[in-house]
């Protein structure tokens, strides 16, 4: 169940925005508790892990905490770069460190439109992000090695702009691959809805699905 959170966003000076990240129950387990984090622009937004499942070709095992945290960190950076940064007037953030080499060159325009939010108007007030705990599904080989993790994503970002409100809802799955100590997005299937009077076209809703 998703619920709303009020950012206690107090803009201090021009361009000062707050990013509110809410963790909502994702439906994968009652044990998940919502967490709210309020941070100023430029600081770290928080996303929490939800349930973690390991699909193993061998013996049952778990996902190491370090890997879990690293995967969620990549997801967090992705959400910030794809949606929050554009609303803050910074344009789409640098995705290169977040994407596997196999992804970038193969993106079609539709895939890219599903992956990032280009062309959003700059927010004039609070930016809020409500993010369900990220449900993780890892794949283990027979030897217990885990090099692929799937992340279920469900995030809603809202912002006020000069033309009116903007709402971006993105849901779907990311597959992340281990790259040393880091995890990079190897493929995705996402559905994004953008709506609100702040969008060009005056309130049009666009839905884009993409895979890579």
């Amino acid at each position: 169940m998703a619920f709303t959170t009020r950012a206690a966003a107090r803009a201090i000076g021009a361009g000062s925005l707050l990013v509110v990240v809410l963790a909502a129950c994702g439906g994968a387990g009652a044990s998940e508790k919502a967490a709210t984090t309020t941070t100023r622009v430029g600081s770290t937004m928080t996303i929490e892990a939800g349930t973690v499942t390991v699909e193993s070709a061998g013996a049952p095992l778990g996902l190491a905490d370090a890997d879990r945290d690293a995967v969620v960190e990549t997801v967090r950076r992705y959400v910030k770069a794809a949606t929050v940064d554009p609303l803050l007037g910074e344009g789409v953030g640098d995705l290169a460190p977040l994407l596997a080499a196999t992804v970038g060159s193969g993106l079609t325009p539709a895939d890219r439109a599903a992956l990032v939010d280009e062309g959003l108007p700059e927010s004039t007030g609070t930016v809020e992000a409500v993010v369900a705990p990220v449900v993780l599904t890892a794949l283990a080989d027979r030897a217990g090695a885990i090099d692929l993790v799937g992340a279920g994503l469900d995030v809603t970002v809202t912002a006020k702009t000069a033309r009116g409100p903007v709402v971006v809802h993105r849901a779907g799955e990311l597959i992340l691959v281990r790259d040393g100590a880091a995890w990079r997005i190897e493929s995705f299937r996402l559905l994004v809805d953008r709506s609100g009077r702040g969008l060009s076209g005056g309130g049009a809703t666009t839905a884009t699905q993409g895979n890579s």
């Binding site: 699909e55 193993s56 070709a57 061998g58 080499a101 196999t102 060159s105 193969g106 599904t137 890892a138 794949l139 283990a140 080989d141 027979r142 030897a143 090695a145 090099d147 692929l148 799937g150 279920g152 779907g172 799955e173 990311l174 597959i175 691959v177 190897e186 493929s187 995705f188 299937r189 895979n211």
Partner: protein, 306 residues
């Protein structure tokens, strides 16, 4: 050399396409050469990385995968490749082509001269068969997937059967098939019979190998319908991984191959039997415009002029 008993069915119907159509290979260290242990039992298929260990498909470039159904029975150490399908996938256009090779097609087998392509498997397993076909077609083959009768049956049963549209009455006692025309969900044994059936057809093995290609396409279609997304693919791979013997490949490779295959709409898959001269029981010579066909296929895995 043992006498040929049965052409193996499409071995890979689903998985391969799934994987094969992706599929893929699996982690080297992981299973290289290990017998599949197992609680979950039997080995359904073997994935062999033919290319060098550091090979990874170049983004957007075509990928070629050899799917082999061998005639192995429990205890056999030398087996022939009787169902032979070279799958080319073009990730940029999301199209694919399956070249079906009749088992008696005469090709130059490295170290053995002109011989039936089926014998290449007996001489040197999937690697030599891949080299033989790669040389003939002019396309690099980085991966080969091989299965046998039991593996094929297990694979089809493992995916809950295979939905096909039987084009005509199929009845052949030797192949173990007895099907009425129309839509049907085949279990593993029935699918094997479908793939082996040839005696009722005037074109014999040519029709059989075409039918095997059809099963691969149907397997892909079914996997696409039933696949619930990238995470569903991970679950599928975990299951396959319990039944796979991997030589030089890992789950990351397999995932990439599987995703490659699942991106292709079956409507965009061409299934083509390579042209050979008539005859059976002896070597079948490539005929017609096969050179042009191979060149058309090898450049981008898509047939533009055939």
């Amino acid at each position: 050399m043992r006498r040929l008993r049965h052409p193996v069915a499409t071995a890979i119907v689903a998985v391969p396409l799934a994987c094969a159509l992706a599929l893929g290979g699996l982690v080297a260290a992981w299973l290289a050469g290990w017998p599949v242990p197992g609680a979950s039992g039997a080995t359904w298929f073997e994935v062999t990385k033919i290319a060098s260990a550091d090979y990874t498909p170049e983004p957007g470039a075509p990928v070629f995968l050899l799917v082999i159904g061998n005639d192995g029975r429990p205890g056999d150490t030398i087996t022939r490749g009787d169902a032979i399908h070279l799958i080319g996938v073009n990730p940029a256009t999301k199209q694919a082509t399956i070249l079906d090779f009749p088992r008696d097609t005469a090709l130059q087998v490295p170290g053995h001269g002109l011989d039936k392509v089926t014998h290449a498997h007996a001489y040197g397993g999937p690697r030599l068969m891949a080299e033989t076909i790669s040389n003939a077609v002019g396309a690099p083959i980085p991966y080969a997937i091989s299965t046998d009768f039991d593996g094929f049956i297990g694979m089809v049963d493992g995916m809950g059967g295979l939905v096909v549209n039987v084009p005509e009455r199929m009845k052949d006692k030797d192949a173990g098939v007895d099907l009425e025309p129309g839509p049907a969900r085949l279990n593993g044994t029935m699918a094997l019979g479908y793939a082996r059936n040839r005696k009722q057809f005037s074109s014999g093995d040519l029709r059989r190998t075409e039918n095997q290609g059809y099963l691969i396409v149907q397997g892909l279609a079914q996997l696409r319908v039933e696949n619930t997304g990238p995470i569903g693919t991970l679950r599928l791979l975990a299951n396959l991984g319990r039944h796979a013997q991997l030589d030089g490949v890992g789950l990351k490779d397999l995932y990439a191959l599987g995703r490659l295959g699942l991106d292709v709409d079956p409507a965009n898959v061409r299934n083509v039997v390579v042209p050979v001269g008539s005859g059976s029981g002896s070597q079948l010579r490539l005929s017609g415009d096969y050179q042009s066909l191979f060149a058309d296929f090898a450049d981008d895995a898509v047939l533009q002029t055939h």
